[in-house]
């Protein structure tokens, strides 16, 4: 009897939790398929004739596609740099632990983004870099770098040293030991780190909003513009949101295994 009660309670909690978690997204999804009339009608129309007009409209406008392109450029650039600098650093910290170095690299995680933005804004303005991809990519490095370093460190720690040591004994140089032995073993880790970094850059609003000019608006910035300036067509906005969020959800399915590890910077597996 008691077992049945527990099972029922558990199922109820699970159903509640899942519906609470997913409801806003499903609701958004439903709006994106609704016509202008149906979109925010009260009482809400649960049964309606779906339409693809909203999705068609946001791409027809042309600027949205531009935002997507900008987001891709920024995210790829930032990820590439973060990997290039961060993966070797993570390897270093795994094989040659140093409390001070670890603390320094981790401490960049503590910095409030706005605190970093204030000086950078003045600097970039002076250097004339405000309408470029470079400024946003550099800013995104601030978080992505420490993320990649710590995530890779936790992956490299799991890789057995013996193979590298055997290679070193056989006369292999330390750089080759890293790139030809340790790296391939942790390839999934590198991919996971890349995806985390990409997602972060893609989602980021503050830096992109302040540092981008008209031609470098990323998706979050473009969407924010829709909300404040345009006469709001909720259906289209919902469609844009779904498109903005889709790559993240797709990528998420690849890194789901590593989510907690990534979010806690390798501290928890």
């Amino acid at each position: 009897m008691n077992n049945k009660l527990r099972l029922a309670a558990k199922t109820l909690i699970i159903v509640l939790v899942v519906s609470f978690s997913l409801f806003p997204l499903f609701w958004l999804l439903s709006i994106s398929f609704k016509t202008r009339v149906d979109a925010l009608s009260m009482p809400p129309k649960w049964i309606f004739v779906p339409t693809l007009a909203n999705f068609g409209e946001i791409f027809r406008r042309g600027e949205f596609l531009g935002f997507c392109l900008n987001s891709i450029i920024v995210a790829l650039g930032s990820t590439a740099l973060a990997l290039a600098f961060g993966v070797p650093a993570g390897y270093f910290l795994a094989r040659r632990p140093s409390a001070n170095l670890s603390f320094f690299i981790l401490s960049t995680r503590l910095a409030p983004p706005i605190a970093m933005l204030i000086p950078f804004f003045v600097i970039f303005r002076r250097l004339g870099l405000t309408n470029t991809y470079a400024s946003i990519i550099i800013m995104h490095l601030i978080l992505n770098l420490s993320l990649v370093v710590w995530l890779m460190r936790s992956f490299f720690l799991e890789a057995p040293r013996e193979m590298e040591e055997a290679a070193l004994v056989d006369g292999c140089g330390p750089y080759r030991a890293f790139s030809l032995i340790a790296l391939p073993v942790c390839a999934t880790g590198v991919v996971a780190a890349a995806i985390f970094s990409f997602i972060y850059s893609w989602n980021e609003l503050l830096f992109a909003m302040v540092l981008s000019g008209y031609s470098t608006h990323t998706v979050p910035v473009g969407m924010y513009g829709f909300i404040t300036w345009e006469q709001i067509h909720w259906g289209e906005l919902a469609a844009a949101s779904i498109v903005a969020v889709s790559p993240v959800i797709v990528f998420y399915s690849f890194i789901q295994k590593y989510l907690i590890r990534g979010l806690s910077f390798g501290a928890i597996k």
């Binding site: 958004l28 961060g86 170095l101 503590l110 997602i199």
Partner: protein
């Protein structure tokens, strides 16, 4: 592992990273500190040196700063407290094997990675008093409606709800991983000795989980204090200053009103505050051997 001799790993592997980080963190902070010592109104051509005047003005003559600090603390502590309690309860329930557990965790964690602007926009829509879906649900079960983010009295709580929605899964999963790594013997022994669930929890589970609890709470707290995106998209610190956290206030001061000197001073102080807080979390993570 730490007891082995460190392998010959060339420092060149980590040097680019360190140099890059120094360039994009320490460098600008020095520049920010310098800016904070001047009267730096962006449009004006002259930026006279005024020493620590900005700091004094902010700390002693700017009640809005202290309001922002307070709101930030309320937001962070409020959100994390709720996330912790809810997260723990859900983690305790998820701690047993059952079918579909993997899928469930997968689904459950989705709110964490959704683009914050989409989160903000969606909730802003749901919170609309007349055409929003939340009040619709309240009406259909005859509960009183709320004005959510559009009234100072409920605005902060509404934002906290969004944060709870977004990050309870994170808290749950950290606590769950802690629960799963607990040794089984003490619990089994206690049950054999006749302890009930509450006693098991209070005397065994909770004390053993303390380090991971500290880690989870401080980690979330730091993130909640820094938080900007969804707050900016939903209320921009409003109505009035009801939800104006320190991040939002610094943004307004420096990037909307262009008082860079004051904004820089607040940024420095914010950074110091976060570093002090962060030191605590790092000490805990190291002491308990989270590597």
């Amino acid at each position: 592992m730490a007891s082995r001799n460190p392998t010959k790993v060339p420092i060149l592997l980590v040097l680019p990273c360190v140099v890059a980080l120094l360039a994009i963190t320490i460098g600008p902070m020095i520049y920010a500190f310098n800016t904070s010592l001047h009267r730096y109104y962006l449009p004006s051509p002259k930026h006279p040196f005024i020493g620590f005047q900005n700091y004094l003005d902010i700390l002693l003559r700017d009640p809005r700063f202290w309001n922002a600090f307070r709101i930030m603390i309320y937001y962070g502590v409020g959100a994390v407290a709720i996330e912790f309690v809810l997260g723990f309860i859900i983690a305790l329930f998820l701690n047993e094997e059952f079918r579909g557990r993997r899928i469930l965790s997968g689904v459950f964690m989705v709110p964490i990675i959704i683009t914050p602007i989409v989160v903000g926009f969606t909730w802003r829509l749901m919170y609309k008093p007349t055409i929003g879906i939340l009040n619709y649900f309240l009406r259909s079960v005859y509960l009183p409606e709320s004005k959510w983010i559009f009234v100072p009295s409920s605005a902060l709580l509404s934002l906290i709800i969004i944060d709870v929605w977004e990050f309870t899964p994170f808290m749950t999963l950290i606590l769950l991983s802690g629960l799963m790594s607990l040794p089984r013997e003490p619990l089994e022994a206690a049950r054999i000795d006749g302890a009930n669930s509450w006693q098991c929890f209070r005397e065994i589970i909770f004390p053993l989980m303390k380090p991971i609890i500290m880690f989870a709470i401080l980690f979330r707290l730091i993130d909640a204090f820094k938080w900007f995106d969804t707050i900016y998209v939903t209320t921009v610190g409003g109505p009035g200053t009801a939800t104006e956290t320190l991040s939002i206030y610094i943004y307004k001061k420096g990037l909307t009103w262009l008082y860079m000197g004051k904004a820089a001073a607040m940024s420095i102080m914010f950074l110091i505050f976060m570093i002090v807080l962060g030191n605590i979390i790092i000490k805990w993570a190291n002491i308990k051997g989270f590597r």
